[in-house]
Amino acid sequence: MKKLLNNKAARTNLITYLVVVLAFLAMQLMNSAGMLGSSMKGFLVPICVYISLAVSLNLLVGICGELSLGHAGFMGIGAFSGILIAALLKNTIPNDFLRLLCAMLGGGVFAGVVGFVIGVPVLRLRGDYLAIVTLAFGEIMKNIVGNLYAGTDAEGFHIAISTSRMPLGEGGKYIINGPLGATGIQKLATFSMGFLLVLFTLFVVLNLINSKEGRAIKAVRDNRIAAESVGINVTAFRMKAFVVSAFLAGMAGALFGLNYSSVTATKFNFNTSINILVFVVLGGMGNILGSVISATVLYILPEAMRSLQDYRMILYAIVLIVVMLCTWSPKVKEYLSVAADKALGIFRKKEVGTNE
């Protein structure tokens, strides 16, 4: 135990887990005491989803150093495949919790496979070009899912990607209805499952970071050529990070999809990808606890400012710019530290004064 506490990485990980578990317990307590409003209750699952998305994107952006602008694409794949699986297994697995688990795993596997297929050609690119291709991929996914039809009728299950509505036989029921999206979803998502998802994501990502693989990935990020020259298979490690990240995003997407009664493909657009990226960057690249906190705060912030109505998004934008300037700009940082010194100086003088 002592050894564990002396290890810095292990200590940070422990703190991360503790924060998440305590936050969950606090929320559960407040919920049972009836202290949470109905809107706050509605936020609980999406917050868990966005935490998982931010942590999984942080693996890609912060640890691996690859800028991805298509994370919402994987989320969308997970959401729609999760919804399909949940609908199809309705009679096979009556237990809601188990069915949700299957849907999330299925969504994750689906997104992971797509991630692998895309990763093979795409990971040849680097830097801004990778960002652009992931952006393009996100748009393609949105476009395809927006024209996906799936449903069941007397003859069984049908699925088609087409420009016109797929016809269904007698007693047919659409699960995914093209541009109208998935409708009539049974809301399976629960806060406990969201909490488990966050824990699972943290477990996977934190363990990956502190493993042999993680050190190799970081080496690739810091200096690709040097890493290559000491025998690290750069492509394989980038691929691993990419697929794991896609898998986790798919799981989170499935939970997200099963939290609403209807979901359309437009939800998983460029703006959503960007929002997740904002969570990662403001939380600190490579800092997992930072992602957890910033995803929570930044998700609640625009919602909490709802009373300001039209001004809330403009305020959000200003907060975003100001925070970026304060945390990154060398000049603003210097100015702030001088100001802080001055403020503290006055404080100290006063203290001295009272002592006399």
Partner: protein, 293 residues
């Protein structure tokens, strides 16, 4: 004949993309940043022109001039307030700030002009030219867009090739530190790039809304992403590349809508982009940088 009509329409929309893409590519070449707020500057330009012509009742050219003037100032102000303090920090930090600026512009526009779409009246009053018995129609907007595109292209090529400031711009994009050592005022050059890019965005905004007349706070975002794709397509950082990329993208988009599928046009356009980047990772006219160890 139909194929020719689609080609003309494609070149027309492609010219708008090309003008927007020039703004992206110049800023990327010089400041090495993805300026995601560029699309929203287009929208501001279109609104300014709309206000001047509809509310003040001034002629179209006054609207265009006002839009160019306001956007130029806006571009320089944005650069000075939001991007300049972040110079030298990782590109992701600047990217997120640009996204913040983009949110800001969109929501400010929503506050000022409300989110309900405005009906933008075209700045062209010319009657469409009909050829081959009405089978081939060339509207005034198409002529104006293509003419503007050629003018901008020639102007920029001359500017970057012949003038001292233009050469300074090229030098900064080549090697910022070396340019500074040679006595080039890097900060002023970057501000100037933003000014030119934003002025072009204003022109593009007016042209775009003359062709597609609905104007709302999100008008600029999708053409912005498209044009950004076009810039990458042609090789980001290269001025002729942005031009070529924009026009090719417009043609591909029009043809895939006409012959393949309207619903899947997005997927087709972006797939072509991915394929091009896989074959030529630096874009069509981009220079492949040699990596130094």
């Amino acid at each position: 004949m139909r194929i020719l009509q689609y080609l003309i329409n494609g070149i027309s929309i492609g010219s708008v993309y090309a003008i927007i893409a020039l703004g992206y590519t110049m800023v990327y070449g010089i400041a090495k940043m993805l300026n995601f707020a560029h699309g929203d500057v287009i929208m501001v330009g279109a609104y300014i022109s709309f206000c001047v012509t509809s509310y003040l009742g001034l002629p179209a050219w006054a609207g265009v001039l006002a839009a160019v003037a306001v956007c130029t100032v806006l571009g320089v102000v944005i650069e000075g307030l939001a991007y300049k303090p972040l110079r030298g920090t990782p590109s992701l930090a600047v990217l997120i700030t640009a996204i913040g600026v983009s949110y800001f512009l969109q929501n400010a526009a929503q506050l000022i002009w409300s989110s309900s779409p405005k009906n933008f009246s075209s700045i062209v009053t010319m009657k469409p030219i009909s050829m081959a018995g009405g089978k081939l129609v060339i509207t005034g907007e198409v002529l104006l867009t293509v003419a503007a595109c050629i003018l901008v292209m020639v102007g920029l090529t001359l500017f970057t090739g012949k003038t001292r400031t233009g050469k300074a711009m090229r030098a900064v994009s080549e090697d910022r530190d070396a340019a500074q050592l040679m006595g080039i005022n890097v900060n002023r050059t970057i501000s100037l790039t933003f000014a030119i890019g934003s002025a072009l965005a204003a022109i593009a905004g007016v042209l775009l809304c003359s062709t597609v007349p609905t104007l709302q706070p999100t008008t600029g975002s999708m053409p912005g992403i498209r044009a950004f794709t076009a810039a990458v397509f042609g090789g980001i950082g290269s001025i002729p590349g942005a031009m070529l990329g924009g026009i090719l993208l417009g043609i591909i988009e029009t043809f895939s809508k006409a012959y393949l599928s309207t619903q899947f046009s997005d997927a087709i356009v972006f797939s072509v982009l991915i394929i091009i980047l896989l074959v030529k990772p630096a874009g069509l006219l981009g220079r492949q940088m040699q990596e130094k160890v």
